[in-house]
């Protein structure tokens, strides 16, 4: 049975709450009162045009930036300007070129105080799940773009596996690899328990992966609309041609 239910778990506890967040860079208003919620084991996408401030919002949730107004609650606690609670991942894989794949994904464990040997052992258990078992001793430059993103995702997962922020993680991949990564990610999430906030400007990607989609406006960004996605899981290539998929896509296209 799929771990992700067909309907968003509206009764589940809140993992992340963004409340009326405003952010200015100088006189420029980037975020104009954004509110959104991520519930336990939910996959929520933030969809918006390029440059609308999606990444700024992410950095605020990750604690790298402070909002000028508003609050970030993680499991009900105030997490403004505090890093280290949620893990995040960018379009850039940010793997260390001088470390092997195994050592790269072990970094969060080493930083948590595990010995090198222990952390390698722990991390290597996850390599098969992420399709990297044959590349433990490879350097990042020897991997394809898709594999590097999987390694980056594993590192993200090993740091904090209950809440992950993914900022256009597949944005740098070609269309075919990207599609494969979508299938792979959905399959992976059947096995892992995680709440995911996902940034994208790709409507298909957002609908295919998400339980809920927040559509942001141009800068200054506001939440224009929020949609629950009712396409049943597990999703596959058939999901793209369903009527409700296309109806939702049409609605979103009309808003953007």
């Amino acid at each position: 049975m799929s771990f992700y239910r067909n309907n968003p778990l509206n009764s589940s506890p809140n993992k992340v709450q963004v409340l009326q967040v405003k952010k200015f860079f100088g006189d420029l208003c980037v975020l104009d009162g954004i509110s959104l919620e991520l519930k336990e084991n939910q996959f929520v996408s933030v969809l918006g045009p390029s440059g609308c401030g999606k990444s700024t919002l992410f950095n605020i949730i990750a604690g790298l930036l402070k909002p000028d107004e508003g609050t970030i609650l993680i499991e009900g606690e105030n997490y403004i300007g505090k890093t280290g609670r949620v893990s995040y991942m960018y379009q850039k894989d940010l793997l260390l070129p001088w470390k092997t794949v195994l050592d790269n994904v072990s970094i969060p464990l080493v930083l948590k105080g595990m010995s090198k040997k222990e952390s390698r052992k722990e991390a290597s258990q996850y390599l098969p799940l992420f399709g990297l078992e044959n590349f433990a001793q490879s350097y990042p430059f020897q991997l394809s773009g898709g594999m590097r993103q999987r390694a980056a995702l594993l590192r993200t997962y090993l740091f904090s596996n209950d809440i992950m922020l993914l900022d256009e993680p597949f944005g740098g991949l070609d269309a075919i690899t990207k599609r494969k990564m979508h299938y792979w990610l959905l399959g992976l999430l059947e096995k892992l328990h995680a709440s995911i906030l996902f940034i994208t400007h790709d409507i298909d990607e957002a609908i295919f992966l998400s339980d809920k989609i927040y559509v942001l406006s141009q800068r200054p960004a506001q939440v224009k609309a929020a949609f629950d996605v009712h396409i049943p899981r597990p999703r596959d290539a058939q999901s793209f041609v369903r009527d409700d998929f296309n109806r939702l896509k049409e609605k979103i296209l009309n808003i953007l």
Binding site: G63, L64, T83, K92, L96, I107, K112, F141
Partner: protein
């Protein structure tokens, strides 16, 4: 491997061209266009080199030792200064411009001063070497440390890395490629620095030997010394290059290095 072959081919052309130049030089000597006490033939230089090598060997040891000690001290000093300056931004603002400006001082002109202060022993030579090596190493290391991707640093900090871990895991490895380009420049300077220090005065070393044979008008020996000094510099650079490859396995045989990991 393909890349390696390409380099081999490129070198092949350069070696052939060099051989032609030396052949022309030999031809000039054979045809006696320039008298041998001005420009000795390459073959006679080579003979002299073989004959005098046992005598020169003692001097080579001294010069290489001075260059090596000076070079190592310069590496430690610039590594320490590099990290300090990178750690404390205010210090960087204060010191870095001075380092850049001081690079324009021709260090060799300070050699006579060191001889006046510290006499004719090893110390003034080593000081010259330290000074000529210090700036290229320090500048390349500081630039390398500053070139690390800010997002990468943010990511590791958010994962709870302390400053020590940031330097060990990220900043220093990221700075290595630039550091090594500085080390190679400094490596060639190191032998030169020692020789110049010896010209000012001393009892041993290739610089001293060179002055001695010059005074006896043995121009073939002067040439032989120049060849030896050049070879020493080449070996130093080659040695640094080998260490570079050992320390940075991830830069070997890169198909597309510029995919933006470090830049």
């Amino acid at each position: 491997m393909k890349k390696f072959q390409n380099i081999g081919k490129g070198n092949g052309v350069a070696i052939a061209f060099g051989a032609i130049l030396i052949g022309l030089w030999e031809l000039i000597a054979i045809l006696d266009w320039i008298p041998p006490f001005i420009l000795p033939s390459p073959i006679s230089v080579f003979h002299t080199l073989l004959e005098t090598f046992p005598i020169m060997f003692e001097h080579i040891k001294i010069t290489v030792l001075e260059a090596g000690i000076g070079f190592l001290i310069a590496v430690f000093l610039s590594a320490g200064l590099g990290i300090l300056v990178d750690w404390v931004p205010l210090l960087k603002k204060a010191i870095y411009p001075i380092i850049m400006i001081s690079q324009t001082i021709p260090i060799v002109t300070l050699a006579p001063l060191f001889a006046m202060w510290f006499g004719y022993g090893y110390l003034p030579k080593i000081l010259v070497v330290i000074l000529v090596c210090f700036f290229p190493i320090a500048v390349s290391f500081i630039e390398g440390l500053a070139s690390v991707d800010k997002e990468l640093l943010n990511l590791l900090r958010s994962m709870g890395a302390n400053p020590f871990q940031i330097y060990r895991m990220v900043k220093i490895p990221a700075a290595l490629p630039q550091l090594f380009s500085g080390l190679k420049i400094a490596g060639t300077y190191s032998i030169m620095g020692a020789v110049i220090g010896e010209w000012i005065g001393g009892k041993e070393g290739l610089g001293v030997y060179m002055l001695r044979v010059r005074h006896s008008f043995s121009i073939d020996k002067v040439f032989a010394t120049i060849v030896i000094i050049t070879l020493c510099s080449i070996f130093v650079v080659k040695f640094i290059h080998i260490i570079e490859n050992k320390l940075m396995p991830w830069t070997k045989e890169l198909p597309n290095q510029n995919e933006g990991e470090i830049s």
